[in-house]
Symmetry: C2
Subunit: 427 residues, 2 copies
């Protein structure tokens, strides 16, 4: 089984290392020797680990993919192009492909690739694309294939989970912890894709397909990042029995409807997702018969991601030898349910002028929009007061309308930290 690797970065180098150091075991497991046919890289001159064989490097990815000696193509380039074109050629040539490319899989081009692979009877495997070494794709595709899944809630971005964990455990603020994450190599110089939730949104789109069979593109995912999370929100969460996590949520709504969203949320400390710390990822699945299932592991990094790719390579090899392919259930377009009509409890913090009558005005704004207050804390500041509230379950649209009404009150200085609460009143 001759393997072409596209991409010579951290994951590519780790994969090449594993293919060489574990060659014997891999041959036993997969039923064939996995032989490296070539490694397509952008720059031949770049310095690489000693175990990467220089004689296999090439900058001509298209020729490597087209080489009739290549049986399976591993794509670790990322982004839409040239990855989409290269994978299309591979599949059209009847080669199975393994990819870790979440952006591509959550784009219309990726949706097209899936159909093409089915049509050509080859595998398109992507365990490494969502939550790295967490064996999510295979569990959803195989273990839970007979299960009706109602909801999947994931911590799928390690950078933001690291920042939020440190904010909670060290009482630090967002900017400080972002800087630390950058210093540790856990966040990019431009952290937008992570902290604004775009990376998590692509993974949420892929999860909707795996869990419900709906084709969802990342641009359809309602998305809010963690840049607005303040130390005071984190502190309130801690003293109220919560921890703030950035969640990717996909949820069945009625027949044929799906809610796909990414946002920070208050998670009860007793919830299994609350214990997912630092850069780890986890995905919490609610099935009708299986009940609650959670999968946890490293979401990124060279070796963990390469490990997930290896699992897929073994699968692809076994399938080629058996003349079969991994199950790839039918997909249909998902009808995206508007977030406005979703119901959860909410957390809000409101800075007001500290004078008589203000609390009444604030409470009235909630009541006028059918949002019922569950608990309220008032803290005096110099000339103002901060009201921190938890509501009962409320329609998101009603909460937004409440926030607009609040902002129109003269004595209200700021409405901040509007955040959903999960895992309590809502099932």
């Amino acid at each position: 089984m001759r393997v072409a690797v596209l991409g010579g970065g951290t994951v590519g180098a780790a994969l090449v290392g594993l293919l060489r150091s574990r060659a014997g075991e891999l041959a036993v497991q997969s039923g064939a020797r996995l032989e490296l046919a070539g490694i397509a890289v952008a720059d031949l001159a770049k310095s690489r680990p000693a175990h990467v064989p220089v004689e296999l490097l090439t900058t001509d990815a298209a020729s490597l993919v087209a080489d009739p000696d290549v049986d399976v193509v591993v794509e670790l380039i990322g982004g839409i192009e040239p990855a989409a074109t290269l994978l299309t050629s591979a599949i059209e040539a009847g080669k199975s492909v393994v990819t870790a490319n979440k952006a591509l899989l959550a784009a219309p081009a990726g949706i097209g690739l899936r159909s093409l692979a089915r049509e050509r009877g080859v595998d398109l495997l992507y365990e490494a694309a969502v939550a790295g070494a967490v064996p999510l794709v295979r569990v959803l595709r195989e273990s839970l294939t007979g299960e009706r899944i109602n909801r999947v809630v994931g911590i799928v971005n390690g950078t933001t989970n690291f920042i939020l964990t440190k904010m909670a455990e060290q009482g630090a603020d967002y900017a400080e912890m972002l800087t630390e994450a950058q210093a540790l190599g856990l966040a990019e110089a431009d952290p937008t894709a992570d902290v604004e939730g775009h990376d998590a949104a692509a993974k949420a789109a892929i999860l909707a397909g795996l869990a419900f069979g709906y084709d969802v593109a990342s641009e359809d995912v309602s998305c809010e990042g963690i840049t607005g999370v303040r130390s005071l929100d984190v502190a309130f969460a801690a003293r109220s029995g919560y921890v703030i996590k950035l969640l990717a949520i996909v949820e069945r709504v009625g027949e044929g409807g799906v809610s796909v969203r990414v946002h920070p949320a208050m998670v009860p400390l007793t919830h299994p997702l609350a214990g997912v710390r630092d850069a780890f990822n986890a995905v919490f699945i609610e099935g009708e018969a299986a009940g609650e299932v959670m999968l946890y592991g490293q979401g990124a990094g060279g070796a963990p991601t390469a490990s997930a790719v290896i699992g897929d390579l073994i699968d692809a090899t076994r399938n080629v030898l058996a003349g079969t392919t991994a199950p790839a259930p039918d997909r249909r377009p998902g009808r995206i349910h508007p977030v406005d009509s979703l119901r959860t409890p909410f957390y809000l913090s409101i800075d007001v002028e500290d004078r008589p009558g203000v609390l009444g005005q604030v409470a009235t704004a909630f009541g006028d929009h059918h949002v019922s207050i569950r608990s309220l804390e008032q803290e005096g500041l110099a000339e103002s007061a901060r009201l921190t509230l938890l509501t009962h379950e409320a329609r998101e649209g009603d909460v937004r309308a409440t926030v607009s009404a609040l902002s129109a009150i003269g004595a209200v200085r700021r409405v901040g930290g509007v955040m959903r609460v999960i895992g309590e009143e809502s099932a």
Copy 2:
């Protein structure tokens, strides 16, 4: 695909319910209609849920298995016999089998069944046998098949985890919580198999096979239950940043060696296993490339267990249609590593007479046996004192020798709560 179900208990009834209510989806997923051929029960007269078709009940399990119309046999009887004989007949007749029977799989008879299934080219699948709906078997067999696994640590018994969780969260004592677990149907009238760790030991034996390819029988598992865990141990754990869990641990020791053991342990609150509450199960896997992976879910109950069986049934069906079988790697006998030579930190609590010189005698007993004390708390009782200690990493044999030496000291009234600490100094 005609399915025979052996066993009409809670799981059997739930399975029959799922096979009927989800027939359409299951046919799509597996590629063939899953048709119920018969349900073997012990007592035809027993009252059953309305969805169990009376006309399919039989007390003649052997004839049902032998029926040439039956393609796959699901065994939910439990225990060694008649399950072993029935599954042997099924496999010899070329039928794939699915079982949830941990006792059988961890017995020499189960080890024989695995070889027989390989020989006959049929599937022997058992996702439901360890940790119910936790998709452990498939993840170890497929996702992590290319991975070198060094250790697996599991909470695999829901009854004891429920009792320990309630002891920690309500400050209650063991006897009280055992009674509550029995009232809730979470513990049997005779709770021995759960509370003494025998159930977990069978699962540990199966885990050793899945993780390392070693055949281990449950009788070879070093096993200690939770009956000796006292409220004072639980309280010490809480104030020191730990929680006590009953763990099943399988660990590679050198080449060809394996340590397989079940015992209560102090788990740091920051460890993902610490958040596994109530009757939930979880398995924490340490792989060389993948790093830490944890799988969490319901370990027992009709619907969750039936859900795991359904996953296996779909697999078996797909494999029959594709003319293949699930990977069943070679096994070899595991060389069991004696627990005495394992090293972990330890917790001990020692009741002593409160008079001068005693602490010196106690400390000397530790030093004499090369056990180094990391922290010590002394609490005065009426006429005695309680010493609570954490040691640095120490050889288990040395700790046992220390305990013997302590017991020989006149002023030492009781040495209790000797317990391993995981996840800190030891890797």
